[in-house]
Each structure stands twice: as C-alpha cells, then as structure tokens.
C-alpha cells in the first residue's frame, strides 16, 4: 500500500498525472443540464481511436499497388483470419464517424455552441470535419474497386478547376496523366500518415480549447457566471464521475448498434459499401450510376445542380467554407434555440434542405430532380445569408439566469 503510494508520488514528481486528471476530469466542471445531444463528442473520439486501431491491422495485409490493391482487400475478406471483421469495423466506422459528427454538429447549431467565447473551438471542429471528409475520400479509394477509381478521378478533377494552378495541382495529386497506380500510393501515404496525424493534432487543440472555455449547454448560458463561495460554478458538476459514467452508458448503446451493423448489415444495402466497388478498377468503364458515400452526397448534389463547371465547383467550395463564419453571422443575444422560435424554424429548414440534397445526391443523375436540388441549395445558402439580419431582429424569449434542470 505504502509502496503503491510512493510509486504514485514518484511518478507525479516527474509527470503531472494527478494534476492533469484533476484539471481535466475530477475538478473540471461541466454544466449539469447535458442531454441526449451531449453523447456525440466522446463517441467521435471513440470512433477515431477505433479507426486508427482497425486501420493499423488492415495495413498489415494491404498492398497499395494498382495491380494488387483490389486482390489484397479480397484477401483480407476471405483469406485473412477474422480479416472480414476488421475491415467491416473500419468501413462501418467511417459511416458511424460521420453519423456521430453530424449529430455533434447539429448540437452546436441547436444550442449556439459556436458563439463567443467558443469561436476557435468551433473552427477547430469544422477543420476536423473537413479533414475527416478528406480522410474518408482517400480511404474510399484504397480498395481500388471501380467506384474507388471513378470517385477518385472525379474528385481530383475538381481540384483542376482551381484557376491558374489547377492543372499543376492535379498532376501533383494524381502523380501521372491519369488517376492510377501512382495516385494510389500517394493516397495511402496521406490516408495512413498525413491526415491522421493532422487530425490528432487538431482534435487535441479542439479539446484544449473546450477545456479553456468550458462546455456550452442546452440553455446557452455561461455557468461560469454564477459561482459559489469556493469559486466553483453553481450549475456545474465534476466531469468525472458524473459525465464519464454518462458517456460510458452512451458508448454501450453505440457499440451495440455498431455491432448490429457490422454483423448483420455490413454493406447497409450499398450505403456503406457499394456493389460497383466489388468490380476491380476499370479505367475504360465508368459505372452506370456514380454516386458518393451518403455523408458526402449533399455536396455532390450541389455540384450536380449547377450546369456550369466553374460555378458548380465554386458553390461546392462555398457551401463547405460558409460555416466557418457562423460565430460572426449569428448576432442574437440568446444562444440556444430554446429561446429563439424563429431560429428554430430556420434550423428545421436547414436540416430539410440538407436531407433533400443528400437524398438527391444519392440518386442517378436525373434532370427532373434539378429544380428540387436548386430550391434546397437556395435554402441552404439562404440560412447563412439571412442569419445576420434575422438574428438581429428575431424575437427572443426570456433567457433564465441559471440553467434549467
């Protein structure tokens, strides 16, 4: 017993373990009124760890050459013991990552978590989302099926539309006149090393920023404004044990759902793995219906809805960049949707526009759907354009002094 304590002291004299645990867990106060929407930050962290872990095991058996990539993935599925499970965990993890991130982002929209003083927290988060899209896209190319190939071709071609340096950039990204073996090897370097390292750095910054400003909450008011005699927030509770226990419950439910998908519906009827990707890459034959993974389909619908190349790509880029400015576009004195009935309606419209775009993006190219895509696109951009005006004049319900429990 005394030996154990002595060892603990020895460690802490050399590494501030207990100080860190105190500052970030046992004496880190989070608002006491967290609800369902507050599960997804910790779940996102869990999926990140799962993806890195399962990815390392896939890397053992994967070959990143144009001739061998497809067969090595089939080898993982059929010859490597339990290889199918590792791969399905990785592919399901990609989809779950976006599901969790989208819910996490929705929470920020609902309760105004992007508002002052959490602007940097929000910006780091949005960078993580963009890196995640890049990581998912690069990973999608790895099996080198026919969808991998043509998806890869199309996305790299988008880079070529950048004025001036576009052609040079595409040659850097593809490593040859066309998308091919040289592209695959560099995509692997980026998918396995570059983007994950960047992701980890930005995730750490995201967490440090969070612990600097503290969590927002469903009422959108700062708990740090009402302190007790000891200087602790009256409406805060220690992260550990209260929210660690809550998060572990969330992890249990999440992993159950995760396991059901992995074991019973690993391709999720084409949503996670498309049937065209069970055909090896064929540079002469574009698949009949080229549609992206569901989590990128709204952007794809935006691209398709505009019959002009440069403008379509510009709108795609703008739709990804606009949310960066959200902290400064919203000028309402109240943060949370609970006290903002007009903002609530705007959020519903925004969600509908994204769902409509997402659905259209998954359909085959069809001119009959174009008008719907354009209306949804107008609503999406309308949200960001009108927010500064509406948020200044919108009616606000009285915001309480203390959080409601």
């Amino acid at each position: 017993m005394s030996d154990k304590r002595g060892f603990w002291v020895w460690i802490n004299e050399r590494l501030p373990v207990s100080g860190f645990l105190k500052a970030s867990m046992t004496e880190y106060y989070a608002p006491k009124n967290f609800n369902f929407w507050y599960f997804f930050g910790s779940l996102a962290l869990l999926v990140l760890v799962m993806q890195i872990f399962s990815g390392i095991f896939l890397l053992v058996h994967y070959y990143s050459s144009a001739d061998q990539a497809f067969d090595s993935v089939q080898g993982i599925m059929f010859d490597v013991k339990w290889g199918w499970l590792v791969r399905y965990i990785h592919t399901t993890g990609a989809t779950m990552f976006f599901l969790v991130i989208y819910l996490h982002i929705s929470r920020a929209y609902l309760y105004g978590s992007y508002r002052k003083p959490r602007e940097l927290l929000w910006i780091f988060g949005w960078i993580i989302y963009i890196l995640l899209m890049a990581e998912a896209y690069l990973g999608y190319v790895m099996p080198f099926g026919n969808m991998s190939y043509w998806g890869g071709e199309v996305i790299t071609a988008i880079i070529g539309a950048i004025p001036g340096i576009g052609d040079w950039l595409v040659s850097i990204v593809r490593g040859g006149p066309a998308f091919g073996g040289a592209t695959l090897t560099r995509f692997m370097a980026w998918h396995v090393a570059f983007i994950p390292l960047l992701l980890i750095v930005i995730v750490v910054l995201h967490l440090v920023a969070l612990h600097t400003v503290g969590s927002n909450n469903p009422d959108g008011i700062e708990i740090s404004k009402k302190l007790n005699a000891d200087g602790r927030p009256l409406d805060g509770i220690p992260f550990h044990p209260y929210y660690t226990v809550k998060d572990i419950y969330g992890v249990g439910v999440f992993l159950t759902l995760f396991a059901i998908v992995v074991l019973y519906a690993p391709t999720l009827h084409g949503l996670i793995i498309e049937s065209d990707n069970y055909i090896p890459a064929n540079y002469l034959q574009t698949p009949p219906d080229v549609t992206p993974a569901w989590y990128l389909s709204p952007y794809y619908a935006i691209l398709r809805s505009i019959p002009e190349k440069g403008l379509g790509i510009a709108m795609l880029g703008l739709s990804i960049i606009l949310p960066f400015f959200l902290p400064w576009l919203d000028r309402c004195p109240a943060k949370s949707v609970r006290y903002r009935p007009v903002y609530f309606v705007m959020l519903i419209l925004l969600a509908i526009s994204l769902l409509v775009l997402g659905w259209i993006g998954l359909q085959p190219a069809n001119p009959a759907l174009l008008p719907y895509a354009r209306v949804a696109l107008a609503v999406y951009f309308g949200f960001f354009i009108l927010l500064p005006i509406i948020s200044k004049f919108e009616p606000v319900r009285p915001v309480p002094e203390r959080v409601r429990s």
């Binding site: 790299t156 071609a157 006149p177 398709r304």
Partner: protein, 212 residues
C-alpha cells in the same frame, strides 16, 4: 536611502544597456526567422517536386488501332494513355442527326479548340464516317456512355453520349448540349489513317485542348 539611490542609478544604467541589447536581439531574432523561413522555402521545393509525375508516367505514346473490323454503326472503345478512346463508324442516318441538334449545343461550330484544325467541322473528324474521340467528359473526367439509340436517354434523344456522373449530354460528334455541367466538347486527339483506312494512329492531343 543611499542604497535606494544606488539601486535607481543601476536601474537606469541597465535600462540603457537593455535597450541596446534589445534592439540587437530583435535584429538577431528577425534575421534568424528570415533565414529559417527561406530555408524551409528552399527545402520545400524538392519535396513538392517529388510529387510531380515521374518520367515514366508522363511518357507520351503513340497508339495504332485496327479499325478494319468495325461495321457501319459499330464502334470500339480502346485507350490512349490509360484514358478511354472511342472510335465510331457512323451511318448516314447518324450523321444526319448532327444538323438537327445544332440549337441544343453550347458550341456547335467547335470554336473552342478541343480538336485539331482538320476536325473543326460538324463531324469533328477527318472523314465524316469516322469519329475518333477521347471518351472523357470535359466536366470531371468520367467516361460518358455511348447511347446511339433514339429516345434512350430522354424522349427526344437522337443518339449521343450521356455521362452518368453529373448528367452531361453530348451529340454523336461529342458536342456538349445546353443544360450540361460540362463546359466544352469532348476532345478529338491528333490522328491519321494508315494502311488505306484499315488502321488509325493516335499521336497525341492538341496543345490547347483540355481533356477535363
């Protein structure tokens, strides 16, 4: 008292020293930063250059395709530099559609140099019958499907190319139609007929043409 005065004197003395030291140190900091930045810039060049296509990947190639076996109305798809290339032997009926679609086209007269000068005609070819074309959509590099059947894409479709990726439509000469995201007509490469029209030799792309 005297001790305090002494201290004040020392302070002012060290202050002037500090100011001198400070400007010297600021200069050194700035110089180090400048040299460091220049160094990073110089080292970045070989790293970025290493990502460019290597010599083997960018080697140009000449491809010869045997076309003696293609019947009227038939076609073959082959490749040039790992990109799809289609050769169609068009029938007189198919050629007749080329004049009916003019109003639907973005660039019916091929003003954008997406073809060699000898192919700047409605057939976009050396000989009306033969279409030799890169089957690459100018929007984002997908390979549009060849749909010669009337009514196969839209009810008024007269035959042409339809890109499943983003819905671009082209006529039987690869000229892009209005309402397509693709900006220009598909590229016709440089080619010659050899062996008395038994073969086609593809030699490269026109400098100004842009595949996608």
């Amino acid at each position: 008292m005297s001790a305090k005065q002494d201290k004040d004197e020392k302070d002012s003395e060290s202050e002037t020293l500090d100011r001198k030291e400070l400007s010297k140190r600021r200069f050194l900091t700035a110089a180090t930063a400048a040299v460091g930045t220049a160094g990073i810039g110089v080292v970045a060049v070989p790293f970025v250059k290493s990502l460019e296509p290597d010599a083997a990947a960018s080697a140009a190639s000449v491809v010869t395709v045997d076309i003696s076996g293609i019947p009227p109305g038939g076609h073959i798809t082959t490749s040039w530099q790992q990109k799809p290339l289609i050769i169609v032997r068009r029938t007189p009926e198919m050629l007749a559609t080329l004049n009916q679609v003019t109003a639907m086209l973005k660039d019916p007269d091929n003003k954008v140099p997406q073809q060699p000068s000898y192919a700047q005609n409605i057939y976009r070819s050396r000989k009306p019958e033969w279409l030799v074309m890169m089957q690459v959509c100018t929007h984002l590099c997908c390979s549009p499907a060849y749909d010669p059947e009337k009514g196969s894409v839209t009810p008024t479709w007269l035959g042409g190319f339809f890109c499943a990726c983003h819905g671009s439509r082209y006529d039987l000469s690869g000229r892009v139609m209005h309402g397509s995201p693709a900006p220009t007509n598909m590229v016709v490469p440089d080619y010659t007929f050899i062996d008395g029209e038994k073969s086609v030799q593809i030699t490269g792309l026109e400098k100004k043409s842009k595949l996608c």
